[in-house]
């Protein structure tokens, strides 16, 4: 590691954040011959340490004590539901779990690796084409990405090959193939690995969904179904369904992560420098405020403040931190929900997710401890572009899936029995055993639209350990998304019946239900520094380049104009490769705005 008190040498490119987006950008830009320095606020993470078996699958240390997640003692955010409330700090990791350390959320994720639908990327245009402009609710900021599925397809493909994604295609180069998702758009190639095997629960769901005329498919999983070597020469082991994906470093090297799939190649490259424990406080600008000159950061190992300059700055931290750093650096105009001006903090979105539980007869063993984060069977019948929302009157949709990711002992004990079940005594124990052996979860994992009064800004009261204002989240569920979720969940009961359920506990969002930050939902946070075609309504152009500071690119789900029904990582990775491709092809030859404002 560099000397603790020295300042590292000036690179060509500074990358803020060592997760998927940062690692992809670092790989691409070192390939372009540039010297790249990546700043990561946490420690380095490796399979041989965090993933050492059996210490790696210690649930108390992993999911309960949040081993791989953000340390809230130094910085957090404040949360409120409505603009007329006072926001309070998020003091315990509950609803969402940002990562910390090399690999970021890409180390502790599950591995569900979706593309986007064609409509997801141009949802405003597609909605108007299908249902007319009046179909869009007042105060919904429905927007297009400015990039199409066709343009992104080579980069979805590249990401899948780097991640070693297991899945089954439906259509490759126009040819019908396999039993993949029939609603998925055409692909240039197959998945690099065959799909993960169905757990028993997923096979029951697949059979019932087929009988009911739905179109089940294997969830694309960045959990390797076989040993794999990716285009960078990085190797993965095969998944054994141990169930310790989300929240853990995979001891079998079978869950894709920047640490396993990209950084081994980067660490061999002299042009790449990794600085850990570097908490970036600010992207520095020159006097014109049109050019980033570098970053100011705290070296947490020596507790000294340092600056580092570069020609190009890539902001690729977690979504919340991307927005925060833009705001505290004074880049772009902060979003104002009253005047609806400004872009930074605009279109903050999340994901609707509700989990229902289904019990099968006692002679059918779902063995909930078995699982893999990305494995399972889904239907897209309530999420694909052609699903008719016109008569239902909402925008968006949800895949429904059985994604048996492995129920760990403590989580099983905490969640035993479903709503209204006893919390102690022999009835509790019996319910826990019953649930562990015979139940399964069915999720509606859906979209979340952007709204005028849902946004991110800087908190007027609370500060972090470095004296900076905390990010403030103003978020709640809105009618469109609640109705969408309720409609989708209403079909889960029928599927459960077809599966032979003896009992169901269906969960959906309820009208007027506020967002509850005390309950885990997902870590799929989006927006706040969104891409688009108009600098008045987006912070970035279609290449994820800042409209205001052209030598700054902001990569991540912070660029999503709204939350889609799928997990975000596949789209984050594709957008990173897309942006890098155009930086290499266009920007480096002629640095400056790639789209005229």
């Amino acid at each position: 590691m560099p000397d603790e008190t020295s300042t590292p040498t000036r690179p060509d490119v500074l990358i803020i954040g060592g997760g998927w987006a940062g690692s992809i950008m670092a790989k691409e830009l070192t390939e372009a011959g540039l010297n790249v320095t990546m700043l990561e606020r946490g420690h380095d993470h490796s399979t041989a340490v965090e993933g050492t078996y059996p210490g790696s699958i210690d649930e108390l240390r992993g999911a309960i004590r949040k081993r791989l997640f953000q340390k809230l003692a130094r910085t957090s955010l404040t949360i409120r539901n409505r603009p007329d409330q006072t926001a309070l700090p998020y003091r315990q990791l509950t609803a969402f779990l940002p990562g910390e350390g090399v690999g970021g959320a890409g180390l502790h994720w599950s591995g569900c690796h979706f593309r986007a639908t064609e409509d997801d990327l141009r949802l405003r245009s597609a909605t108007i084409e299908r249902y007319g402009e009046n179909f869009i609710p007042k105060d919904m900021h429905l927007q297009d990405y400015g990039v199409t599925y066709g343009e992104l397809e080579p980069f979805f493909d590249k990401a899948e090959k780097v991640f070693g994604t297991s899945g089954e295609a439906s259509s490759v180069r126009g040819q019908k193939t396999g039993r993949g998702n029939i609603f998925a758009p055409d692909r240039s190639d197959h998945f690099p690995l065959p799909p993960m095997a169905d757990t028993f629960s997923a096979s029951v769901f697949r059979a019932a969904a087929t009988d009911m005329g739905y179109h089940p498919f294997s969830i694309p999983a960045a959990n390797a179904s076989q040993p794999y070597t990716n285009p960078y020469g990085c190797q993965m082991g095969p998944c054994n369904f141990c169930g310790y994906c989300s929240g853990y470093a995979c001891y079998l090297y079978s869950k894709a992560s920047p640490n396993v799939n990209i950084l081994p190649a980067l660490r061999q490259d002299r042009r790449f420098t990794l600085i850990t424990q570097a908490q970036v406080l600010e992207i520095m600008l020159d006097d014109t405020h049109k050019k980033a000159t570098g970053v100011r950061y705290v070296d947490l190992s020596s507790r000294t403040e340092k600056t580092l300059e570069a020609d190009l700055v890539i902001l690729s931290a977690f979504q919340l931190h991307n927005v925060h750093l833009m705001l505290v650096s004074g880049i772009g105009q902060p979003y104002d929900p009253v005047t609806q001006t400004g872009t930074i903090g605009r279109n903050f979105t999340y994901q609707t997710i509700t989990s229902s539980r289904v019990w099968l007869p006692e002679d059918r063993f779902t063995s909930q401890f078995v699982g893999a984060g990305g494995a399972g069977v889904a239907i897209d019948d309530f999420n694909h572009p052609g699903f008719d929302r016109g008569r239902l009157g909402f925008i968006g949709g949800s895949p429904i899936w059985v994604n048996q990711a492995g129920l760990k002992p403590i989580a099983a004990a905490q969640g035993s029995g479903g709503k209204g079940a006893p919390r102690w005594g022999s009835a509790y124990k019996s319910a826990m055993i019953d649930q562990y052996r015979h139940s399964l979860g069915i999720d509606a994992h859906g979209s979340n639209m952007a709204y005028r009064d849902v946004y991110l800004d800087l908190d007027p009261t609370w500060t972090n350990a470095y004296g900076q204002p905390l990010l403030r989240m103003t978020f709640t569920w809105k009618d469109n998304d609640i109705r969408m979720n309720q409609h989708v969940v209403s079909h889960i009961g029928d599927i459960a019946h077809a599966m032979g359920a003896t009992r169901t506990s269906l969960n959906s969002l309820q009208p007027g239900q506020p967002f509850d930050s005390r309950v885990y939902q997902t870590t799929h946070l989006n927006g706040g520094v969104i891409m688009g075609e108009n600098p008045k309504t987006s912070a970035l152009n279609r290449y994820l380049q800042s409209w205001d500071v052209p030598n700054l690119f902001v990569i991540g789900s912070s660029a999503f104009p709204q939350g889609m029904g799928y997990n975000p990582t596949g789209l984050v990775a594709a957008l990173a490769y897309w942006s890098a491709h155009h930086i290499r092809r266009t920007y480096l030859r002629n640095p400056g705005p790639m789209v005229s404002a």
Binding site: Y53, Q235, M236, G237, V260, P264, Q268, R270
Partner: protein
């Protein structure tokens, strides 16, 4: 990546292997030449194109850096400690510094040192320097090597620390006797190696294995006087038939024994193993890993194939019943029959990577079924790796590295003995069981475990 630094344990292991040899000899003594000499190679004369690169490649083939470059220090500046029970000695500076290194060596003096073990001042080198093997180097290769060490390496004006040895072990003259008894002349060595094969690929393989590669230094048995019992393929079946136990790792045979040698490894398996430290048939561990990291992975493709093809024609030293996969254990485990001692531990601790069928997963997790190093008569390696763990290494040829954790803190001697016996007797391996006392003895002499900072980063 600029923060990458070599892992010190790699070099330590190798040097310890050599040190063991020295300790056995009890013939120690090292100093720097005090004789004045003219500059050896005019630095302004033009060189044939590619000669320095060729010399560098010769240095890779001979793995000179393994002993003469200390991790974190300038290349070839020496100073690598060899810790022995009788004191510590240090490898020499072979950079072209005229005072501290070999800058004043003429090419003839250089050749005499490398190939005959005689220093510029006429005293003898330790046979830890594998000059009986290097004696086979061609004049052209020695020339390239000489030019590289004079012109392609930066002079380092540093001397290794003085050796701390006690008399009479510090005397050097007995080394000449050893040299005279066991080290061949250059001419006889070259003739012996070069005349074995008419096939040019096999001839090249013989040259690489018997010469610069000095494989026999570890893989051939040594006599009580610590000379290699055989130095060439022509010397008979002891050559490369396994070299005993070094630093608690069993050095296996490289001959064609079906069970414990390379009998079931294809030419491509051997090439893959040397280039990447991993093959479908087994992964590198213990003392072989540094050889791959510093040397073998960078061999040219043709040379790797020549080595593999040469090894493939070395007749077995021992007759062994061919290994045949026996599915009994696999079937028992799949029926949840864990009645065999060690079976429960195997399923809990090992099977995730090595599978209940013992087949492992390709080049990621090596097989235990039919793996030669599992079936060697001496089970030390298997016990050692379970206690200490080990890892493959990130290389330019293969950036991923895989770590096996240490089970020293989680498994008792009895559990390990049962486990090792279980592995050695499953899937047709049919090797002898091991006793608890053997595990205890190996545990007591376990070298320091790798620290988290030394482990692979992926």
């Amino acid at each position: 990546m600029t923060v990458l630094s070599p892992r010190p344990t790699i070099r330590k292991r190798l040097s310890s292997a050599r040190a063991l040899l020295l300790a056995g000899l009890g013939l120690l003594g090292l100093g720097s030449s005090g004789l004045p000499a003219r500059p050896a190679l005019a630095t302004d004369s033009p060189l044939p194109a590619g000669l320095i690169e060729e010399g560098h490649y010769q240095a890779v083939l001979g793995d000179c850096a393994a002993c003469h470059t200390q991790p974190g220090r300038a290349p070839y500046s020496g100073g690598m400690p060899f810790k022995l029970p009788i004191g510590t000695i240090y490898s020499t500076n072979i950079s072209p510094d005229p005072v501290h290194g070999i800058g004043r060596y003429t090419e003839a003096e250089f050749a005499r040192a490398v190939q005959l073990g005689i220093r510029k001042d006429g005293s003898a080198l330790y046979p830890a320097m594998p000059y009986p093997s290097y004696a086979r180097l061609s004049k052209a290769d020695i020339h390239a090597l000489y030019v590289y060490f004079q012109r392609g390496v930066a002079p380092q004006p540093v001397s290794p620390p003085p050796n701390g040895l006690i008399w009479p072990l510090s005397m050097r003259w007995p080394l000449h006797i050893w040299r005279w008894l066991f080290s061949p002349s250059i001419q006889s060595a070259q003739l012996r190696t070069n005349n074995q094969f008419s096939d040019p690929v096999l001839a090249r393989g013989a040259y690489l294995v018997e010469g610069p590669g000095h494989c026999g230094a570890c893989h051939s048995p040594r006599s009580i006087t610590l000379n290699e019992k055989a130095q060439t393929a022509k010397d008979g079946p002891l050559f490369l038939s396994g070299g005993g136990v070094v630093e608690q790792w069993v050095v296996p045979s490289l001959r064609q024994e079906n069970r414990t040698g390379l009998g079931r490894w294809s030419e491509q398996d051997i090439v893959d193993f040397l280039r990447t430290g991993r093959a479908r048939t087994g992964a590198s561990f213990g003392g072989m890993t540094p050889v791959i990291v510093h040397s073998a992975h960078a061999f040219k493709d043709d040379d790797l194939h020549a080595i593999a093809r040469y090894l493939k024609q070395l007749a077995p030293a021992r007759k062994e019943t061919p290994w045949v996969y026996d599915p009994t254990t696999t079937e028992r485990l799949r029926q949840a029959d864990l009645s065999q001692p060690g079976a429960q531990t195997y399923v809990d601790r090992c099977a995730a990577c090595h599978r209940t069928d013992g087949a492992g997963y390709g080049t990621v997790f090596p097989p235990l079924a039919g793996n030669p190093v599992v079936m060697t008569d001496d089970a030390t390696s298997l016990i050692h790796i379970i206690l200490a763990g080990d890892s493959t290494h990130a290389l330019p040829t293969t950036p991923s590295a895989f770590a096996m954790p240490s089970f020293a803190d989680t498994l008792s001697d009895k559990e390990i003995a049962d486990l090792v016996s279980f592995i050695r007797q499953s899937w047709g391996n049919n090797a002898r069981a091991v006793k608890e006392g053997t595990v205890r003895r190996i545990r007591q002499n376990l070298p320091q475990l790798e620290t988290p900072a030394q482990l692979p980063k992926n």
